[in-house]
Symmetry: C2
Subunit: 160 residues, 2 copies
């Protein structure tokens, strides 16, 4: 698909982090319409996201800033701000994301894996957006109360 | 100790990456005098370092840029350069490091875990330095031909 740098996007929440039946880490992103997008990610980035989703109590056990904390510290130290992250492409079963940053009002973008982008977004507390075309292609509608299992997601998406 | 921001430093090579007898990841840094400093690190950062120590052949299997590649991409995209990294403190069994960056000749520093700093240094191809006081305190002299085992290192240093 060619959703990159163009087209409609929808905001999503980082809804669940878990493992599929093959023990692969998967993160579920949900939009306001209840559509859920499963994104398979690597274990280290899953840990980075998990640490941030959990409460302060858990985080306090991990004494030292992790790699994505360092990433944000460098961005902020350089006078930059993270504005949002966008999952904006899906090609050959792999998702791609873009970090949208700005410095003194001047925007610029950097390519990233969705897992790094999400781990950063949780630390910077900025919106996560997904291209509408990706949501249409790979999202699933989840009824209220329905428990989606990660293994119900499309099976043709590789972990990044 | 109080080696930070002052005192003599010595250049080291990233010599070995392995596991101690308790299966903890440890990186061995060696200076020109043959002194070896063991630094225990967490598994994700060990993987990031391992990927960079291996040859292109191995790296080509990992298709996507990893978190420390993103870190370097952001630094460079912002017109910064990494100059060196320094392991400059050891307190209560924990090592501390500093990233030395510069932009337009203006230097500045950012605190980091030694593991993140080393993973970044291998990508930026910049020197790794260790405070001489730390080398004296925690380094071990290794004879030519002697095989140092990571478990021979001081046991009072925590993984970061």
């Amino acid at each position: 698909m060619t959703g990159r740098d163009s087209g409609e996007t929808v905001p999503v929440q980082v809804w669940r982090l878990g493992r599929d039946e093959e023990d692969e880490d998967v993160i579920l992103l949900r939009d306001n319409a209840g559509r859920v997008l499963p994104v398979w990610i690597a274990p280290c980035e899953a840990a980075a996201i998990w640490l941030r989703l959990e409460h302060e109590q858990v985080r306090s056990v991990v004494r030292r800033p992790m790699t994505h904390d360092l990433l944000l510290a460098i961005i902020e130290r350089l006078g930059m701000a993270v504005e949002r992250i966008v999952i904006d492409d899906l090609a050959n079963g792999t998702y791609y994301a873009t970090l949208h940053l700005q410095r003194n009002g001047e925007p610029f973008t950097i390519d990233a894996r969705p897992s790094d982008a999400i781990a950063l977004s949780l630390r910077a507390e900025v919106p996560v957006l997904v291209a509408e075309e990706i949501m249409r292609q790979a999202g699933e509608v989840v009824d209220e109360g329905q428990q989606i299992e990660p293994e119900e997601g499309p099976g043709d998406v590789d972990p990044d």
